[in-house]
Symmetry: C2
């Protein structure tokens, strides 16, 4: 019965294909999950320049204080659960202001505003994201207090500048990333929070690009790894 | 003609599904590309503990010297091309010794040995990878010299220790990562290469776990961010 055979073959084939589609769907979900929806979308649409592009962006670096000490007193699953719960809230604040988390770095992360999609007001978006992160941390710490857990403390550093954005890596391992002084500086600016007793430190250049009140100028600060001092401003609750 | 209709419908459906399969295949390739083949495989097979796991691993941190200066004198596409060419070679050395590149960090990267697959001799693998990277850099620099390009210089730091491995992030953004002192320390150990005039620095703990000759003990060194000095050994050409 040739017609039946064709139908059987087709049904079996379709069944297999549907099965593979489910698998493909899972891969697509995971791909978005591991790369951030905005970046995976841009990559799938071929909108990411593989050979590099100059672009002014604002980079936000966030670090948890004393997380190593916390890690050592808890079971691994508690550490990861706490980190994920924290990242969930911070990521929501970043996303809500047009940025994306480019990298998780142990107990910190690096977020970028102004890429992959272009944005004219990336500095303003990034500073507003930092303020939203601070507010969100406050709510999180109230919840931790209710559970009789110690509060979390963070430091945030921001800088704006021209970076190279693109796909960096090798044939079997790529990363969409930003390369440039602004990326390095945001991390170094962040480190100064500890000695300055601040929580959010913004380079003067970034601050000047925003329309924000309430900042407190800290003058020129020596930043490790930079030849010249950098004028910094602090914003938020500790300003 | 119902049988024809069924066949038409099936053929159209199959055609669509095949089209979607090609797209899915591309996503799968990209997924592997952006996550490293070993990690994407482990994730797709559900072998990555999402809630965190303690594991002893060896972490290798590699950084390019003075890359910012190089970046500023070249066009973005030249910078990315050079970086990718460099990462291609370093990644081959890491892969050949059982490790994987966990993160690219601008002009550096962090590689892990002993995860996601378990390995009893991750310290030995990592040190051998560092030596292979050094040899590969030598060949690369000869090629650069032929093209009348300045050579590249790197620093490598290694440390072994118990870390938490797992998926860290939030609902729409995950990363398979390692959290712990060994990860932070490898980066800090690397930084000492500059002042010590070395290229590959290994913590004494990592070195003791290897069966290697030719190391040169450097005694206890003060490592920024660590309370106690760390005994270091240098290996390779500058040992």
């Amino acid at each position: 019965m040739p017609s039946d055979k064709v139908r059987d073959w087709n049904l079996k084939e379709i069944k297999q294909l549907v099965e593979k589609m489910r698998y493909a769907q899972r891969i697509r979900e995971l791909f978005g999950l591991y790369l951030s929806p905005a970046v995976s979308q841009a990559i799938l649409e071929g909108k990411v320049a593989t050979d590099g592009e100059n672009r002014e962006v604002t980079v936000l670096f966030c670090d948890i204080r004393d997380f190593t000490a916390f890690s050592q007193s808890k079971a691994p699953r508690q550490v990861v659960a706490r980190l994920n719960s924290f990242f969930e809230r911070m990521s929501a604040a970043v996303d809500a202001h047009g940025g994306f988390i480019n990298k998780f770095l142990g107990d910190g992360f690096l977020a970028v505003f102004g890429a992959p999609g272009r944005s004219a007001d990336h500095a303003q978006q990034a500073v507003e994201a930092a303020l939203a992160m601070e507010a969100s941390l406050g709510v999180f710490n109230q919840e931790l207090a209710r559970d009789e857990e110690p509060p979390m403390e963070i430091g945030i550093g921001l800088d704006t500048g021209e970076v190279i954005v693109g796909n960096v890596g090798c044939a079997n391992r790529m990363e969409y990333t930003v390369i440039g002084d602004a990326a390095n500086r945001s991390s170094r600016i962040q480190k100064l929070n500890k000695s300055l007793g601040t929580r959010i430190l913004v380079s003067d250049y970034t601050y000047q690009k925003c329309e924000l009140g309430g900042g407190r100028a800290l003058g020129a600060q020596t930043v490790r790894g930079l030849d010249e001092p950098l004028v910094l401003v602090t914003v938020g609750e500790r300003a």
